[in-house]
């Protein structure tokens, strides 16, 4: 496990859970957020980002995960690094139904800080690919559909490195702990 008392070298670190010592860098993408603003890789640079993929009509794990993320985001305001550089992002993989207007109503329920964004299918494929994730539409017998998607919460460093994925079920304290370990690790490497 990582600890603030130990000096780390990337080569000496082995994965603990899903906290990667040699993370890949997120590549560029184009999304539109709930205020019709463009969200790209530039929005990740210099920030700590907590990212989740889902869709508004997902009744079960999406609202509970976003609630958990929002709580972690709120608690992490006590952390001097996160309070300056932290952000939470929800990427909808259902652009057909999740318009910016719907995203605005939905996101405000969880946190005024939540960035909720989506894109056309091609751009969603691009962003899910760089997050090493997938999404797939699935039809029920009545013609309605849901979207299979990643249930992980992704932690992205200010240098747009995917440092960690938290797996379901989620709890806010695990997000906080993972951020604290990852940011300690990141600081050690920067010194």
């Amino acid at each position: 496990m990582l600890s603030g008392a130990i000096k780390f070298n990337k080569k000496d670190i082995v994965p603990s859970g899903i906290l990667w010592p040699n993370p890949h860098k997120i590549e560029n993408f184009d999304l539109t957020d709930q205020f019709n603003k463009i969200v790209t890789l530039n929005n990740l640079k210099g920030k700590w980002s907590i990212v989740f993929f889902g869709f508004i009509n997902c009744p079960d794990i999406c609202p509970s995960t976003l609630q958990t993320m929002a709580r972690a985001h709120k608690e992490l305001q006590k952390n001097s690094v996160y309070s300056r550089l932290g952000q939470i992002i929800f990427v909808s993989v259902d652009p057909e139904r999740d318009t910016p207007d719907q995203l605005r109503k939905y996101a405000s329920h969880f946190s005024p800080d939540l960035i909720a964004a989506t894109a056309d299918i091609e751009n969603l494929k691009k962003i899910t690919k760089t997050f090493k994730s997938l999404f797939m539409k699935n039809y029920d017998s009545d013609g309605s559909y849901s979207v299979d998607h990643s249930s992980g919460i992704f932690l992205i460093s200010p240098e747009r490195e995917m440092l960690s994925v938290l797996t379901y079920p989620h709890n806010y304290s695990a997000i906080i702990e993972r951020f604290e370990k990852a940011s300690e690790f990141y600081n050690e490497l920067s010194q």
Binding site: P59, P112, Y168
Partner: protein, 150 residues
Amino acid sequence: MTIKELACLILVLLSVVVKAFGCEDLLLESSSIVIPPPGSQYSVGYFNIKNASQKEIVIKKFSSTIFESISIHRTSHSSSKSMSQMRQVNELRIPPQQRAIAQPGGTHLMIKVPSDSYRFPEQQIKLVVSCEKKPSSEMMFLVSHRESKH
């Protein structure tokens, strides 16, 4: 045919006849219908239902006069790919004296509300539970709020 064989045959026939009973022996031990976030057309229902009988009971569907549709779904998670899949379930089989538990991240009711601005009743909503064999039963589900944490 010996008496023993005859008894066995009668038992087998009886087990076929009473394999599935109606809903009257289902006990709703806990329940909730969670008000969806604004913008969402789907609410979620959770429950803990005990089969108090000595026979298997098969729940075929839940229905309500106020919702557009209610279907039973199950969420599964692939840990290797960290993927979540939600699939419709056609029935819930509850063995004698056992429980069917619908909870976050697993089996749940996917409830389509009339509109994304639908106003839920304050406390309870009646759902009708239909089983493989009639009669159906009514169950009162508690309405709950998913707390906003900001």
